[in-house]
Symmetry: D3
Subunit: 136 residues, 6 copies
């Protein structure tokens, strides 16, 4: 009996879109105002979805308190009130688009969550722009 | 031509998390404040999703008024303003976690909705904690 | 590495539900107040979801600005502040249910978005009634 | 001990903006797409706010069930799934802007709610455009 | 230069509506399903609003971290995952309607927040039913 | 007959909290992670509220299209995708707290909106932290 347990959390961060292999002119052409060298920022909402069998003893797919602790410790503390380009090492050479942020978060969580669970994430950059990633 | 028609509704209920096979001490250890013997409660939001062919006469997968009536009659009247542990028979021996509530609701609706439709439910215990179940 | 990029937008429109092959009496029986001959209306929210490989140069599945432009030009300008039954040609003979509106939008976008991307849409008629369509 | 009790409800309606004293050309100039002669529509959200002393017996400013019944009977039944310009008599000669709809609703409710209560309404035409009216 | 700084938080609790001076029959007549003796519950959202001069050194009306700490310590810890009727002493003899909960919270916070600030609270029992209280 | 017309809009920006008269150590003590020298950011939501008589010809307090144009031209273009500390001149010497941002926006709009209207703004830094300012 498989179900999907979902936990929504959030972090606030600065970023700019840029491909480090390109010069500023090309970054500005491709990414427009999103590539402002002085940065802009977002309130990111993150939904972490864990699919697996329901434990008959607890009635949980996974204890949400534990999922919350893992997410807080390894994602939120690393991303919240940070400049993603400067302070989150994964984005030194990787453009912090919503797609790439979602993948970085998924990779972090995938190592911390038991492999018997499927994992997917939804990352809202704004309520109008969001990305889903399931590791495929 | 298959589409999925979705209807969101809600109910307010009290519950406590507990495994009836465990003593209070163990329930408190595993479920923490969620196992308060005096209960706590939630505004649950429920999304019922029905997938099937679109009827060429009506343009509906299923008439939402009928889906609403089925959900109101068999789920909302049974759960709304109730104590799930005490007053909803399915939870006499089953821990009313979001996962188990979603499965109980799915089973109720599965019997009332024609088998030519696929059925899934999303149950929000809070806007931060929610569960998806598709009968698999 | 496939991800799904999602863009939410909205339009306000009038419509009435009716099967043009039926007389008014039968339309009223089947569709009730939704078939009011003088029309009613909605604030529709539309989520367009595009799934594909992430471009390693941009970090995008697809540039959201381009997806927004396509959606604005071919969907929003055609639907916003319009009477769907009278002014959107696809509904001359097709009942503008949420299901059918979702399919019409999907068909419009499918022609404009490169076939290497999968496409799905979610159309909210209200926050309680919504439809998902993926072209299957 | 005065508090304000608030009840949110909704209705879906068609309308067009127009001053009946003006010709179509002038209406189109002033109101743009909002004056489309074929109508468009909205999901209106309405918040009714009642301020008064808290009854020491009930702990209520006013029983919300009664406020809901009054609002349903005199506002929602009159406005929901209707064409405001054609079917709601107050708008035969009055432009159904959000401002005027709010005032019409306020006047209806003011007659039905005991004068010992202050009354105000908030009418959301969309989540981005809304109007507050307190009878002043 | 006065502004109002607002902080939204939440708690989940069980309650039932009842006047302890009435018998069960009268409570059931007046409060209906809300008086279910087995309790029901809600996800309460609380907005605390503090009005005062902006401190020229900090640019704050009041440090939101401090307002959050006060609210967490004196309101959330006292109300969250509790049965309001049984476990929150203020409701031993007071009916836990949204109005009365708002007043109890306001009184708690009024003692902890410097009297140079004006204070008001908004308490959402559901997203459709809410109460505002400013101490008047 | 006075009503209040409200328009919600948004912008995304980077900022850090700091009093330019203080050294980094003191800024870090007072503002914590919000004073990260590399900046963080937010999706700000802004509600502009204009109170005045309803024009009997239009049924408007003020044409929302015009209010939107003023807000877009003088606020959104100046703030959106910007670093508030570096790129918005008003914050060269002023700490960009939500309170101060609200006041700066109010001052900008107050000059552009006819003095026969009252003006207030609500600025959401997150959905949990927001500020109201009415010019008093």
């Amino acid at each position: 009996m498989k179900a999907t347990a979902c936990r929504k959390t959030h972090f606030n961060a600065a970023h700019r879109l840029m491909n480090p292999a390109w010069d500023e002119k090309r970054n500005a052409e491709i990414f427009g105002v999103c590539s402002n060298p002085n940065f802009h920022g977002h309130n990111y909402d993150l939904v972490v979805k864990v699919t697996g069998d329901i434990d008959p003893d607890t009635g949980y797919v996974m204890d949400m308190k534990i999922l919350k602790e893992i997410t807080d410790q390894f994602v939120i503390q690393k991303f919240d009130h940070k400049n993603l380009n400067i302070e989150v090492e994964e984005f030194r050479l990787l453009n912090p688009t919503a797609e790439n942020i979602a993948i970085v978060i998924w990779n972090i969580l995938r190592e911390k969550i038991d492999s018997r669970f499927s994992l997917s994430v939804v990352l809202y950059e704004t309520e109008r722009n969001f990305v889903e990633f399931s590791g495929n």
